[in-house]
């Protein structure tokens, strides 16, 4: 708690919170949104193939898309840290925040496992082994839940203005 209060008193936190510059809060939110689109979107597309969609696609070449998924992840990890820095005490009081973090933690763990499984897959067409299917289903579920929890954060905040 002391750390969070200290963080809130830093110049960086104050700047993100109070600056009227479009490079402060708006730019961080834009990065977080575009990162979300590609992180979750491309991951979801890979999940959909593993779940049986477009059975004509070989699995192994999908590994090339993981680079872009990870780009989305790192953009969102950094922009997310800055969003927490903006209002740390309230973010940590927000009941939706730990749920969002837990779901992201699981989804990212699956993402790293999925990356290895896809790169070593010999499936050229048709269904994938059921353990891969389960990972894909859990991945899609966790990302959906993370989006729901993330959006909810703006509505269950201890005080308004966390949009």
């Amino acid at each position: 708690m002391e750390f969070l209060m200290w963080l809130e008193s830093t110049d960086l936190s104050t700047w993100i919170r109070e600056s009227s510059s479009l490079w402060a809060y708006p730019a961080i939110l834009i990065a977080h949104t575009i990162g979300l689109g590609y992180l979750v979107g491309i991951n979801a597309a890979v999940d959909m193939r593993l779940l049986g969609l477009s059975p004509g696609l070989p699995i192994e070449p999908l590994r090339h898309f993981f680079k872009y998924i990870w780009w989305g992840f790192w953009i969102n990890a950094i922009s997310g840290l800055l969003l927490v820095t903006r209002d740390p005490v309230n973010v940590f009081k927000n009941p939706a925040f730990p749920i969002k973090m837990l779901l992201i933690f699981i989804a990212v763990y699956i993402l790293s496992r999925l990356g290895k499984a896809v790169a070593s897959s010999s499936v050229e067409s048709g269904p994938v082994p059921s353990n891969l299917k389960w990972m894909a289903a859990l991945s899609a579920f966790c990302w959906l839940g993370a989006i729901v929890a993330g959006r909810l954060m703006a509505y269950v905040a201890p005080r308004p203005g966390l949009g």
Binding site: P26, T33, G37, G41, A45, M48, P61, F65
Partner: protein, 163 residues
Amino acid sequence: MPYIESFSTWLMGTQFSKMVTLYPWVWPLSETLHFIGMSLLVGVIGILDLRMLGVAKRLPIGPLHDMVPWGIAGFVINLITGFTFYAGDPFQYIHNPAFWWKMGFIAVAGLNILAFYLFVYNKVARLGPGEDCPAAARAVGAVSLFLWCGVMYFGRMLPFVGS
């Protein structure tokens, strides 16, 4: 824009518009769905764009293109939820330059998709694993990635410009 003004005034008097502002769950639910639809759209369209640009070349384009209906589903979700926002508070949008930029980018993205089906699709649909896409396909892919990023950019800018 007298037509848009009068349409907006009429829309605000409808039961649908009243419902959006009356029930506190309509807006957050629509926002959440808007983010999910956005991810589906940019993820599915994004991997097709990346493949045309030369990423994951071992993927045949025909089966990859089979995922497009899911991208369209994302777009339809966003059309419905986006219209819900507009119906709830039309004048917040029609006087906001970011809104018109966003609509403009979506319109040009639509023309780009038209160009894809008119000039590119027949050439790339039969491309097998490992084959390079023609220059027109690479151009359409790059333009698509740029435009959808622009749509997300102006969408997230909406609350920060105008009123």
